[in-house]
């Protein structure tokens, strides 16, 4: 085995009140893809931040080529050949591809920037990554997010870094784009770069990485060769004891399994929208969880918006408790107590610069109208109730939501919708990007809500979640419903996958 290119030795990073990283030792080898795995808050991002010079270690050292180096600023880290592609694409959306790639490294001629040389070197960078088909003059915002992500990598490659950090690069990508990205990553690896890959997606980690370091609660649990560790072992290493609880919840739901009783609370009779979702029929019964399974882009979000009257259906009718919903728009849906919790909790979800209390009360208050404010006492009781019931944590109601962890923010958002006492609650990816403990808490809460008689529609990209929670699984593909499964002992992730795949053969 060669010597490690970069090594963290006994690194501790502490913030007031928490030790984000404790005595962590991690080795990154050249020509290898090294995955960092762990729940949110395990310390993955802190490792990235130490290497990019954002957070200085309180103790321990970082070695490059066996020599101790000081990484006290992003510039210092970049100068040492460590490049980063961040989770949120940090590019200029109104600049061209070439400008984005070369920003800060513009070739200069006698009269300022040499634009021709800039475009040429940008093209070279793209060609190196097998992206020669991209026109460097295109404006970035004309590209799809996955391609933007690739441009971000091309940008990181300027200056021939020896270490490339990819922080959740695939969280917004389709499978086809992931493959393209992985091709680029493999090319980097083969050219001797040490690639650090941070991701939540287990399958991707297995597909791309050579070595895995598992972190939990700021400590290194262990370093494994990817071939030597199977999925179950990896998960249990990441989770600690949470794993068994998760399995218990699944079997509870299975036991709960029952046929819907009484009339449906919501009947969607041939609702659809041209180009967004093919007209479809769906009935929701009180007390059941209907899971929408399908890939991203299969029309899950579109169907969710139609079911809650957020978007107007161009055909058919939407009936709540037998009465048609005539108006559409988020407010109209809310008034009939059809609630949609949007997919991205940052976009249209929680308002980060607002307090927990205001965030929770917003939808209820909007529904009541501005002239009928919720009394101070009712407000306080409601907020404290949800903070406790949902386990938002040891927080004060006036705390700003932006200071909370992703999981807690998601719970605040859930509380906002629950406060309106929905008849139908549609949750679009409620567990995306949050740690396993919060995931578990939210899944438990969803199961509990259904037991109390709410009709819940649950959307998730993670099929095991879908199978664990759903009483009924509606399978979507290419913006239409391709089937409905009644969940039961015989149904597994494979059943759903087969259904999606089988549809391909007939098409």
């Amino acid at each position: 085995m060669t010597e490690p290119l970069v090594e963290l030795r006994g690194v501790t990073v502490s913030f007031p009140g928490v030790e984000a990283l404790q005595d962590a030792s991690i080795r990154f080898f050249p020509g290898e893809v090294h995955a960092l795995m762990g729940q949110n808050g395990a310390g993955k991002s802190t490792v990235v931040k130490v290497l990019t010079g954002v957070n200085a270690p309180a103790s321990g050292e970082v070695l490059l080529d066996g020599e101790s180096v000081v990484l006290n600023s992003p510039a210092a880290s970049r100068d040492l050949g460590i490049a980063t592609v961040f989770q949120d694409i940090e590019l200029g959306h109104r600049l061209s591809v070439a400008e984005n790639i070369m920003l800060g490294n513009e070739p200069r001629g006698r009269f300022g920037i040499d634009w021709r040389a800039l475009r040429t070197s940008a093209s070279e960078q793209l060609a190196r990554l097998g992206l020669a088909d991209l026109d460097p003059r295109t404006r970035l915002d004309a590209l799809t997010p996955p391609v933007q992500q690739l441009v971000a990598i091309a940008r990181a490659m300027v200056g021939d870094p020896r270490v490339v950090l990819l922080d959740e690069p695939t969280s917004s990508l389709e499978p086809a784009d992931v493959n393209r990205l992985f091709k680029v990553v493999r090319q980097l690896r083969d050219s001797g770069v040490a690639v650090v890959f941070v991701s939540h997606f287990l399958e991707q980690v297995y597909a791309i990485s050579d070595r895995i370091t598992v972190l939990r609660d700021g400590r290194v649990v262990g370093e494994f060769a990817t071939d030597d560790i199977d999925r179950a072992e990896l998960i249990s290493k990441m989770l600690g004891q949470d794993f068994e609880e998760l399995q218990a919840l699944g079997s509870q739901r299975r036991a709960h399994q029952q046929d819907p009783e009484g009339p449906p609370v919501l009947v969607a009779r041939d609702i659809g929208r041209d180009g967004e979702f093919e007209a479809t029929h769906l009935e929701l019964f009180p007390g059941e969880i209907v899971a929408l399974a399908g890939l991203r882009g299969s029309g899950r979000t579109e169907l969710a918006r139609l079911l809650t009257a957020t978007d107007r259906s161009e055909s058919g009718a939407l009936l709540v408790a037998g009465r048609p919903v005539t108006r559409s728009g988020p407010g109209a849906g809310l008034r009939r107590r059809l609630v949609l919790s949007p997919e991205n909790r940052h976009l249209g979800g929680v308002i980060e610069s607002m307090s927990i209390s205001d965030n929770i009360m917003l939808a209820l208050q909007a529904n009541r109208g501005w002239g009928r404010p919720v009394s101070r006492q009712e407000r306080q009781e409601t907020v404290e109730w949800y903070i406790e019931v949902l386990g938002i944590g040891d927080v004060r109601p006036e705390t700003l939501v932006g200071t909370l962890s992703g999981g807690a923010q998601q719970k605040v958002l859930l509380a906002r919708w629950l406060a309106t006492r929905p008849r139908v609650l549609v949750l679009d990816e409620p567990t995306k990007g949050i740690d396993i403990a919060a995931k578990l808490a939210i899944q438990k809460q969803i199961a509990h809500l259904a037991d109390e008689g709410m009709a819940v529609v649950f959307i998730s990209s993670e099929l095991d979640e879908v199978v664990r929670l759903g009483d009924r699984i509606v399978v979507l593909k290419d913006r239409r419903k391709i089937g409905e499964l009644s969940n039961g002992p015989g149904v597994s992730v494979d059943t759903v996958v087969e259904l999606i795949a089988a549809d391909d053969d007939t098409a």
Partner: protein, 355 residues
């Protein structure tokens, strides 16, 4: 520890943390400067003839009234992450409407009320048009109200036929020049309106919703907040309050000056709002702060005149005071000052963290 707002020390800390605290400090400083020039600057006398307090402070309050009005409206608009550049022009429209009406109307109380009602109605309609341009047509607030700002003075000119119309009406004049409990009626009216708007916004859910659409319009929409209705209301309120300010400004001289009434007052209003701690990015707003800001602007105007700063240097003087104030309020400068102050006591802070 008493930094949770308990005890007198905590209370003091809480006050200093308020954004508009520095606005108050600036007012006090300006008054002190004036006091050094004329030791009797702050003295207040009693005029038996019209039962009124007289003095520089009273003058400042009177001058602050119209700025308070437009600042309150501006504050609400800015909270929705918009801006209303047309407030000055709405002032002149309101003035033109009332003067033109009074010039033909009899000198009675009823005439004054009719003129007032008409002026306010027209102002609210202009505000509503702003609101429609922003929320229904979907223009940017800056552009919509810029159009109205430019058009407004033209509209006023059309109303008066290009004249600086004067009129006589004692009741109307009393609004601007009269006294109640020894204080100027304009100030009391302005104060009453500030309190009323404050109660309206904070006791109902309007404030929460305005902040929500200012911080994240999409999230607010998905939560069922009626953005369009709110924007219409907020711009109408801003128009209405500008109308009140316009009436205040013209009633004091009973003449509308087409080119000067309300001229560039939108800048004063925006400054007052910013000084009061409301971010131009929208979201959290502070009406008390905007009022303090308005008082500061009025104090500043009076000080400039009192100190005899030449009229050509007036804008520069104003700018300096405001830049200094904004610097003090900026987070970065505050952090700088704080870190310098705490450098000496670093070890003790570390201990506290460790404990």
């Amino acid at each position: 520890m008493s930094d949770n707002g308990t005890g007198p020390a905590g209370f003091l800390k809480e006050v200093v943390r308020r954004q508009y605290f520095w606005g108050v400090v600036a007012i006090v400083l300006l008054l002190l400067v004036n006091l050094t020039k004329d030791p009797s600057y702050l003295s207040i006398g009693w005029n038996d003839a019209n039962g009124a307090l007289v003095g520089n402070l009273v003058d400042i309050l009177r001058a602050a009234a119209p700025i308070m009005m437009i600042s309150i409206g501006m504050c609400l608009v800015i909270a929705t992450s918009g801006i209303d550049l047309s407030v000055g022009s709405v002032m002149v429209i309101a003035g033109a409407v009332s003067m033109q009406f009074l010039a033909a109307a009899p000198n009675t109380f009823a005439g004054a009320m009719a003129a007032l009602g008409l002026a306010l109605l027209v102002s609210a309609v202009v505000g509503l048009v702003n609101g429609i341009l922003v929320s229904v047509v979907g223009l940017q607030p800056f552009i919509s109200t810029l159009i109205m700002m430019l058009a407004g003075r033209g509209i006023a000119k059309v109303i008066t036929g290009g004249q600086n119309t004067s009129a006589v009406n004692d009741s109307f004049r009393w609004i601007a020049n009269g006294y109640l409990f020894g204080l100027p009626v304009v100030f009391l009216l302005a104060l009453a309106i500030v309190v009323l708007v404050g109660l309206l916004v904070r006791r109902s859910a309007l404030g929460l919703m305005i902040e929500a659409i200012g911080m994240d319009p999409q999230a607010a929409r998905l939560a069922g907040v009626n953005r369009r209705g709110l924007l219409l209301a907020v711009y109408s309120i801003s128009g209405l309050l500008s109308g009140v300010a316009g009436v205040f400004a013209t009633a004091s001289v009973m003449t509308v000056d087409i080119s000067r009434t309300g001229y560039q007052l939108e800048m004063d209003a925006i400054l007052a709002v910013v000084i009061g701690g409301t971010s131009l990015a929208g979201g959290k707003f502070n009406l008390t702060g905007a009022t303090v800001g308005a008082l500061l602007i009025a104090t500043l105007d009076k000080t400039v005149v009192f100190l005899g700063v030449s009229s050509s240097a007036t804008p520069a003087f104003k700018a300096v005071v405001i830049v200094v104030l904004c610097l003090i309020q900026s987070d970065r400068v505050r952090q700088l000052l704080r870190s310098r102050r705490t450098t000496g006591s670093r070890p003790s802070r570390k201990e506290a963290v460790a404990a």
